[in-house]
Symmetry: C2
Subunit: 178 residues, 2 copies
DNA sequence: GGGCACATGTAAGCTGTTACATGATTAA
DNA sequence: TTAATCATGTAACAGCTTACATGTGCCC
């Protein structure tokens, strides 16, 4: 019962869309999956090395000296499908804001208000980001068959952020007064 | 720029409500903060040892031989306040379901439907759990000044789960048909 | 006496981050 | 030419989980 390496899913998934270098892979993950996923170089390169050794991906010479462009093999495509079908293992939640709110009786109301205001500002930034991604996605002719799936993840982010804005507004009134 | 040990906040916070043993501390965190926080024994005991060495908590003999009941000192109370006011550092998101949806073009629609159905079932379980916690909290006379803060965290969970149920329903239709 | 919940800890190991080291390519 | 970006990797470390080892107290 070995645990599934989540990073491998992200790496194989990205390469299923287009072959690319490790550097660009990480950049695409940051820019495109950024609102629900994250990888660091320290994860991406070892993962690429492992997947190459397992025959899931192959490296080709890139346009630049000493850059390697990775592509999925058939085995890699099969492995990706296998991993995608596995039910996500429930991750241990850790919400640092809710932790602070829970112990809020130890703080003056203004400190709570500050925490909530900061959070709301972050949410509004996120929402602006989603709007931008959505516009871009709806215009991008390359998205093709992926578009509906990508839009679904954007919707998830938007709905979550909107419901959290509602919660923040209500909670600020409840806990810190109008 | 040392990072804040989040576990310390949970430990100090729990002890600010009532002195208790490490074992019970972890149990309370699991049962009461479970929907937004998690600690393992391997975190709790070292954290207690460190906080004791720093003078934030003191140990008293418990009712049982070789059990130690920890209580906040004044320094610990001050440290807790300091930690609670720090803005939560944004954690790197990792949503395993959205990762699978994003690469959904690699899967047959039925596999997507399974993933979404499983997720919806989990959400409904969560909602039932929240309802139970809410009933319990509203009846508990011990909650006192904490009740409003604790209810706020329950509301956060409820709203989040409800908006995700909405998303799941919509997304299932969009991606897998009616 | 047997089983369960309470209770305390440690050690191995995995995941993931951060900082570092190095160099190529491109655009101003 | 110089700064930014592209590109690859490693090493140290922090954080956290899991499994293990050990023992107490209570109830049936």
């Amino acid at each position: 019962m070995t645990r599934v390496r989540q990073t491998d899913i992200a790496v194989l998934g990205a390469l299923s869309i287009e072959p690319m270098t490790g550097y660009r892979l990480r950049k695409e993950i940051t820019e495109t999956l950024g609102h629900f996923w994250h990888e660091s170089f320290g994860q991406v390169y070892p993962s690429l090395a492992r997947l190459e050794a397992e025959g899931c991906i192959v490296a080709m010479d890139g346009p630049k000296t000493s850059s390697r462009v990775f592509a999925l093999t058939e085995a890699g495509q099969a492995e990706l499908r296998r991993l995608l079908e596995l039910p996500p293992e429930p991750q241990q939640p850790r919400n640092a804001l809710l932790l602070r709110i829970f112990f809020g009786a130890n703080l003056p109301p203004e400190a709570i208000a500050d925490l909530l205001d900061d959070y709301e500002a972050q949410l509004r930034e996120k929402l602006a980001g989603f709007a931008a991604i959505r516009r871009q996605l709806e215009a991008d002719p390359l998205a093709g068959e992926h578009r509906r799936y990508w839009l679904a993840t954007v919707s998830a982010g938007e709905l979550a952020a909107l419901s959290q804005v509602e919660w923040v507004t209500r909670t600020r009134t409840d806990l810190c007064g109008p």
